[in-house]
C-alpha cells in the first residue's frame, strides 16, 4: 500500500522552511526520500532506518517515528534548487508515495 504524503503541494519564498510528512498504514522498516525535477529521474535524498540511523543529504534533515509509522522531511532555508516533487518510499517493495510538489520562488 502506498504511503500517504502531506501536503500535496507547497509554495515557498527563498529562505523559507517547509516540512513534508509521510505516513503508512503498514509497518515501516525504513523510509527513503527522493526528489524528482521535471523531466528527470528521481534522485536519492535520504534513508531513515529503524533505530535512528540515517544516510543521506547534508543539508536536508528528516525524522522517523517507527511506532507511529511516520516520517517527516525538513527543508530549511530553502533554495531555488529545492523545487521539485518529493517522494517518500516505503520498504518493502519500495513503494512510492503520491508525492509533494514544492515550488520555491525568488
Amino acid at each position: 500500500q502506498q504511503p500517504v504524503q502531506s501536503p500535496q503541494a507547497v509554495i515557498l519564498r527563498e529562505g523559507e522552511d517547509a516540512v513534508i510528512n509521510c505516513s503508512s498504514s503498514k509497518a515501516l522498516y525504513s523510509v527513503h526520500w527522493y526528489r524528482q525535477k521535471h523531466g528527470e529521474a528521481p534522485v536519492f535524498l535520504m534513508i531513515l532506518l529503524k533505530g535512528g540511523e540515517q544516510k543521506g543529504h547534508d543539508k536536508i534533515s528528516a525524522s522517523f517515528n517507527e511506532k507511529k509509522q511516520q516520517s517527516s522531511l525538513y527543508l530549511t532555508a530553502s533554495q531555488l534548487s529545492y523545487s521539485g516533487t518529493y517522494f517518500c518510499v516505503r520498504y518493502n517493495k519500495l513503494i512510492f508515495g503520491a508525492g509533494t510538489r514544492l515550488a520555491v520562488h525568488p
Partner: protein, 115 residues
C-alpha cells in the same frame, strides 16, 4: 556517482507491438527494479529482481510484462502487446544493498509512446 544507463531514451510503437526496454547495470549492484510513471503522475512500482528471479511484483505487472537478464548483464523489461495505457516513462533502478538500506540509483528513463 554510479550511473545507470537505459535504452532507448524514447520509443514510439503501434498498439499491439512488442517493446523491449534495456538497462545496463552498475557493477556490484545486485538488486534491480522497474518503475513506471505516467506523465505528471505517481511513480509506480512494477517489479523487483534479484539473482535472476523476480522478488516482488505489483498488480500492474501482469502477463504482458516480463523481465530477464538474457546475457547476465543487461536487464530488460518486455511488454508483449502494448496498449495505449502503457504510454509512460519507464525507469530502471538498482541498489547494491537490500531495499531497506540500499539507495536506489535511477536511470534517465525510457519514454514509451503507444499510438
Amino acid at each position: 556517482e554510479p550511473e545507470v544507463t537505459q535504452t532507448p531514451s524514447h520509443q514510439v510503437t503501434q498498439m499491439g507491438q512488442e517493446v523491449i526496454l534495456r538497462c545496463v547495470p552498475i557493477s556490484n549492484h545486485l538488486y534491480f527494479y522497474w518503475y513506471r510513471q505516467i506523465l505528471g503522475q505517481k511513480v509506480e512500482f512494477l517489479v523487483s529482481f534479484y539473482n535472476n528471479e523476480i522478488s516482488e511484483k505489483s498488480e500492474i505487472f501482469d502477463d504482458q510484462f516480463s523481465v530477464e537478464r538474457p546475457d547476465g548483464s543487461n536487464f530488460t523489461l518486455k511488454i508483449r502487446s502494448t496498449k495505449l495505457e502503457d504510454s509512460a516513462m519507464y525507469f530502471c533502478a538498482q541498489t547494491r544493498d537490500r531495499g531497506s538500506t540500499g539507495e536506489l540509483f535511477f536511470g534517465e528513463g525510457s519514454r514509451l509512446t503507444v499510438l
